[in-house]
């Protein structure tokens, strides 16, 4: 294969991955729901992994796929599951005009960086990593050589960092029980002393047209009972609107 063909191939891969990763980044910051943001970020991460591989960094490309799209994204999605689906953004601005100022400053920063880097790097020739990779017999061997010689202390400190991070996460996630666990009798008393109705909640779809979980039960006057809908569905906004015909049908049945 001639150098020219490699160059065109790389250009095709670069432009495809560059466009997709910028698309993913824009989707990440514009999605209303955090889960969608996480999926957009996964797209960006995978495309960056491909770009690493085209940049003669196959080891980093693989690590990117394993660490980022594997571990980190899984962690993000897991925390989203814990925090809940209603963790959407509040649209109230606590600082006036913050959004537009932030977008303007961000654009300014981007233009400045692109312009500065573009002009600074314009005439610099690229050495390429072929020689450096060949020196130790491959990219992985080359990185291993550096990590276990020049960067040995940094590498050792990294292990301390990882242990500290794991300890910190365990300490932060640990919940101390300050009070003894309530017994079943206490729970039952609390339930009957509280303001809520102690009985079962109405099941979804009662007196309504469908009995699917996203259809609220209808009260005797035809209004929907939100209490019959599972909380996450309410938060996600997936509740079916009440058909006015249902209300009429109930009225008709009532008058018979």
């Amino acid at each position: 294969m001639t150098g020219m063909e490699v160059d065109t191939g790389e250009a095709v891969v670069f432009w495809a991955c560059a466009i997709l990763s910028v698309l993913g980044a824009i989707g990440l910051i514009t999605s209303r729901k955090a889960v969608h943001s996480a999926l957009w970020m996964a797209l960006t991460m995978i495309n960056l992994a491909v770009l690493y591989v085209t940049n003669n960094a196959p080891f980093l490309g693989m690590v990117q796929v394993i660490v980022y799209t594997g571990a980190v994204m899984m962690l993000f999605l897991f925390v989203l599951m814990v925090v809940g689906v209603d963790a959407s953004d509040s649209l109230i601005e606590t600082i006036k005009g913050q959004r537009w100022t932030a977008i303007f400053l961000g654009l300014l920063l981007t233009v400045l960086m692109v312009w500065g880097l573009g002009s600074a790097l314009a005439g610099i020739p690229s050495v390429g990593l072929d020689a450096a990779n060949r020196e130790d017999g491959g990219n992985v061997q080359g990185i291993a050589h550096l990590i276990f010689t020049d960067y040995l202390i940094v590498f050792e400190v990294t292990s301390a960092l990882l242990i500290t991070a794991a300890m910190g996460a365990m300490v932060l996630a640990h919940r101390e029980h300050w009070q003894p666990k309530p017994t079943q009798a206490e729970l039952s008393q609390a339930r009957f002393l509280g303001d809520e109705h102690p009985g079962n909640r109405p099941s979804p779809g009662t007196f309504a047209r469908h009995n699917a979980v996203d259809t609220p039960a209808l009260l005797p006057d035809g209004t929907p009972a939100d209490i019959s809908i599972p909380g996450p569905l309410l938060a996600r906004g997936g509740v079916q609107p009440v058909d006015i015909e249902d209300v009429h049908a109930i009225e008709e049945a009532d008058s018979l």
Partner: protein
């Protein structure tokens, strides 16, 4: 192909991540934007390594990944902890230190 294209792409991604950090209110999305900025800097490291013909840049990018993984673990634990006490993942909520 000139590796400076990769550096410019990384500058673009860094800028988008910075806007995300400043604009979004959901702590998890802010955190994802920070991750995007870290990844953009990694891409720059990798491109510079190729430009200068030595593997040091790739080693630094590798260490950045390690630090980012540790940071995600601790940061998400803090977010979950705040969510437990405040029932909210919005970064406008924990403003008690203001007063």
């Amino acid at each position: 192909m000139n590796p400076s294209n990769y550096v410019i792409l990384s500058a673009l991604l860094f800028g988008i991540g910075a806007v995300g950090v400043l604009v979004r209110r959901n702590a998890i999305v802010v955190f994802m934007s920070v991750e995007l900025m870290l990844n953009a800097s990694n891409l720059a490291f990798v491109a510079f390594a190729r430009m200068h013909g030595n593997l040091d840049g790739q080693v630094v990018a590798f260490f950045v990944m390690v630090v980012a993984a540790a940071e995600v673990v601790v940061g998400l634990a803090i977010i979950v902890q705040i969510f437990r006490t405040r029932r909210s993942a919005s970064i406008d909520e924990p403003n008690l230190l203001k007063y």
